[in-house]
């Protein structure tokens, strides 16, 4: 920290959206020449804070000071003109244009209105040399790896005399080598006195580069800490929180016993299953009636594991057997034939068909399995739908309403019903309780217990450790796209232990057992 005066100060920031309080009285300080990590789970308010800062959203309450001036940007363009530039997770460049043009488009040097290509190329080379990047600036951006594209985006950001550089999850699609290269550039920029705000989900990276850490949870500031003084475990605790869960007071579930299930044949067994760029090889066995929890931070590979089990993505190595017979799960149709169901975490994009009615959304998977020539008789549809609307207490209880008119929790229940109707033998639930109210949450948890008691296998993914621990017989822990541990959920396992595993990882031996 070369300077004791912050370049950027945000004080008492609050921001609400209809029905949601995204930020509440958050303070944030950024000093020149530091890399400052902004941490928090999904919905903690990180991206809202960034968007409030760069003027994408207006501020409800609070003050932003840049240098000595109080500022309120009207949008990202004005922010970057004032020296606050953002590089987003999805690289926002035009893939068809050259590297040089991507850096300068919108502010090309011109003479008599004509773009000066020579000048652009020269300055682009200069700029990239500063970033220690030796590439052909006339080649289209699309011909380079994501890492290089990321750096081109950074070059665009710092060309405008940036004082503050915001990197919003820049590393989520980079491999280790590329991350190293990015870090080298970040350090260099830091040494030049630029303040870098760094958002990531990878703990290693935070400890590899950040000078200080600010943690947000549920829209409020947890605290600001020098990286050296905050052990990983403490960070994870602060991110996830250990609040007294309302649910725990509602009902204390007895510990699930794994031993009884181990004797039976496993329903599905995968070994060394992997997909390049998504998840490293892992092995996992799920028995009938068993609930396997997947714990880990966002971006740790939880969802990727689930998608491989359902054939939503193709694995590029590894073996699968169902009921002891070797097979493959190459597409959802195949997985469904084997009795697998999958509720995606991305309800809107991968779950509901917004135009169709509650009834149609519920019977969709069953209908798809029967083929279009054998429609489910209307009376049977009505029975099924009425049964599940009642069982899951879906509100409003009108089967002919377009599903888009329902609340998030009720949409989630409709999706659950879609799969329960198919009577699956393995149900994969990816964050089924996220973003829904506490009552619906409790109902879904209860349901999972009932289903597994009835012999259904469940792969349960949740960011909330308490929830995972309450429901699962076995917890698989994910970290940086790798399955680092599988813990039998017995007396020795508690939230602390899982957090420790998430924070520090485990040895490879423990995974393969």
């Amino acid at each position: 920290m070369t300077d004791s005066r912050p370049v950027l100060t945000m004080t008492g920031i609050s921001k609400s959206f209809p029905g949601v309080r995204a930020l509440h009285n958050v303070d944030f300080q950024l000093f020149p020449g530091e890399v400052h990590a902004l941490m928090g789970e999904n919905g903690a308010g990180k991206s809202t804070l960034i968007k409030v800062l760069t003027g994408v959203y207006g501020i409800d309450e609070g003050v932003v000071t840049l240098g000595d001036e109080q500022v309120a940007f009207s949008g990202p363009m004005q922010a970057s003109a004032a020296g606050v530039s953002t590089v987003y997770q999805e690289v926002n460049l035009c893939p068809n244009l050259s590297v040089a043009e991507n850096i300068f488009i919108g502010r090309e040097p011109r003479r008599f209105g004509a773009v000066r290509w020579g000048e652009i190329r020269r300055r682009a080379r200069q700029l990239l040399t500063r970033l220690d990047l030796d590439i052909d600036v006339t080649a289209p951006v699309a011909s380079y790896s994501l890492a290089v594209q990321q750096m081109v985006a950074i070059a665009r950001a710092i060309d405008v005399q940036a004082r503050v550089l915001i990197l919003d999850e820049p590393t989520s699609s980079l491999d280790a080598g590329e991350v190293a290269q990015l870090f080298r550039i970040m350090r260099q920029l830091r040494d030049e006195g630029i303040a870098i705000l760094f958002v990531t989900h990878f703990l290693d990276q935070v400890y590899g580069i950040a000078d200080r850490i600010t943690v947000l949870r549920n829209g409020t500031l947890v605290g600001e800490y020098p990286t050296a003084e905050l052990p990983q475990l403490a960070l994870v605790e602060k991110m996830i929180g250990k609040e007294l869960d309302v649910l725990e007071r509602i009902e204390e579930q007895p510990r699930r016993e794994l031993a009884a299930l181990e004797g039976g044949t496993p329903f599905v067994e995968v070994s060394e299953l992997a997909r390049k760029g998504a998840v490293a090889p892992f092995s996992l066995t799920i028995h009938a009636g068993e609930v396997v929890g997947l714990a880990g931070l966002l971006g740790s590979g939880r969802t990727e594991v689930a998608r491989l089990f359902f054939g939503a993505d193709r694995s590029d190595r590894g073996e699968v057997s169902v009921n002891g017979k070797p097979t493959s799960l190459r597409n959802p149709v195949q997985a469904i034939e084997h009795g697998v169901g999958f509720c995606s975490e991305n309800r809107r994009a991968e779950g509901i068909i917004p135009d169709l009615s509650v009834r149609e959304n519920m019977i969709l998977a069953m209908q798809a399995a029967r083929g279009w020539l054998r429609p489910i008789p209307r009376r049977r549809q009505d029975e099924l739908v009425a049964q599940y609307i009642k069982a899951l207490s879906i509100r409003p209880a009108n089967p002919d309403l377009p599903v888009r008119n329902l609340s998030g929790g009720n949409q989630q229940k409709v999706l659950l019903a879609r799969w329960l109707i198919t009577e699956p033998r393995l149900l994969i639930l990816d964050e089924p309780t996220r973003g829904i109210d506490i009552g619906a949450k409790a109902e879904i948890q209860k349901l999972v217990v009932q289903l597994s008691d009835g012999g259904m296998a469940v792969l349960f993914i949740s960011a909330e450790l308490e929830e995972v621990l309450r429901l699962s017989h076995k917890v698989a822990v994910m970290r940086d796209r790798e399955m680092v541990a599988q813990l039998d959920n017995d007396d020795t396992v508690d939230a602390d232990r899982v957090m420790q595993t998430i924070a520090s990882g485990a040895t490879r031996e423990e995974v393969t057992q």
Binding site: F17, P18, K51, V56, Y57, G58, F310, A312, P332, V333, I336, F342, S344, A349, E350, G351, I352, I353, P354, D355, L356, E360, L364, A365, Q367, A368, A369, R370, G371, W372, L373, R374, P375, I376, R418
Partner: protein
Amino acid sequence: MTDAKNRYQAVLSHRLFWPVAVLVVLLAANTVYRPGFLSIEVNNGHLYGTPIDILRLSAPLILVALGMTLVISTGGIDLSVGSICAISGAIACLHISQAADQNNMVTVFTALAMALGVALALGAWNGILVSVIGIQPIIATLILMVAGRGIAQLVTEGQIITINSGPYRAIGLGHFLTLPLAIFIALGAALLVAGLTRRTALGMIIESVGGNREASRLAGIRSARMVFLVYVVSAVCAAIAGFMMTANVSSADGNNAGLWVELDAILAVVIGGTSLAGGRFYLGGTILGALIIQTLTTTVYAMNISPQTALLFKAVVVIAVCLIQAPAFRAKLSRRRRGTPTPSTPSAPRQKEEVSA
């Protein structure tokens, strides 16, 4: 009182309200202009009159629009239907014209079967380009739209093939139970498509694919297969429409048969309330749309305005209908009506929608 108001609101917001209103206004305007407009008379045991003519003339458009409805429901579009009309009509007429006895039923049915076979192949071609190779529908079907005209002229060797076949002519001009046969064919096709989609699960599955392709895939639907299918259905519908068009004039003109019918069909679908973005489809609305377009054309004829000038009216209708349906326009309108600016906060999710659209 609120009940009456609610009912009024419900009628007003029903998706078929505006199409029906337009049709009624058109018919009313015609009746005012020409009091005998709606009268129907019996002659030789057949019904005659302008309303019957409108029904008969709209039959080919209804057929094409039925297929187009399914294609649009999957989020696609089929520009090649006009060319397919021309090709199928040309093949059928060519076969009949070469036969010794043009009135032979076997000849006529062979001709129809041949033409339908070719149409199936053309539909499959479109389907493969879109669902297997993954070319954008508008571009994939543009190929056949351009080349198809040439193929049709190749079949007719650039001539207008004139035939003199009673049975074939009946497809366009024949009568059955006092009404033109064409009406029954269109009605039959409409019932068949409606039955196929609404009595089976096909309709729901198509809507599901059009509404959210990825979610449909994850629910176990073979989306690509459905997309392929609708292009084949569209081509078959177009082929039957092609028979009607050529039968109406007892001749096949590779250049002009079915010219611009794809545009009218798309228009009929949109007027009928099916969104160009895909999803829910409304066969009844489509038929209504086709009737509106034909009534408009007939009206313009009756007023002695050239049919080309009718395009002016059509342009107005297209823009009006699209504006009414465009969410952006509705939002702007309702914002003005309420007099309060809508909060500008959720701009980020909106951008996402644009990308996916």
